[in-house]
Symmetry: C2
Subunit: 96 residues, 2 copies
């Protein structure tokens, strides 16, 4: 099923920047980065649990926000894109 993962990591301090990098790095192991803080991942239920556990061990739940959206298996018509399509390398580096 398609899982959309969105996050806001507070980067007020260097710890935040490190968490942001770690969250992105974990997510690229599981899916495709479609925007700076938005990933689309095709996962089975056990992978969802695993990824969720990993991300929750990284973020600071006091200040960071993480959301999962479950788009099911028939997601082809549930996503629309407009504008620039950017590619991201495996390590999460923006390719322009």
């Amino acid at each position: 099923m398609l899982i959309l993962i969105t996050y806001d990591v507070s980067t007020q301090n260097s710890g935040g920047k490190r968490r942001l990098r770690k969250v992105a790095k974990e997510c690229v192991n599981y899916g495709q980065r479609v925007q700076n803080s938005v990933f689309e991942c095709i996962l089975d239920p056990s992978q969802v649990l695993l990824l969720k556990d990993k991300l929750l061990s990284i973020i600071d739940t006091e200040v960071d926000s993480l959301r999962f959206y479950y788009l099911g298996n028939n997601y082809a018509n549930k996503v629309e894109h407009f504008g620039a399509k950017v590619g991201y390398e495996a390590e999460g580096v923006l390719m322009v």
Copy 2:
């Protein structure tokens, strides 16, 4: 139905910052800001078209990215939140 709107607006220049403010301002007229660049909007099909038109007139499709995710009417179990819940004022200003 629930529409999730996510966007990346390039803020390399002042025009980008203006577009970012305008996109956010338009989205808050239609829904709830749940993260910095993520909005959840309950819209009927005509409102979707209207909002899409407005946002496409604001963004620079050469450099900005805009995505719509259609989560249908039964969305209660399709969304999971972890970590900080921030409130945003109607004008899109972060309330901490």
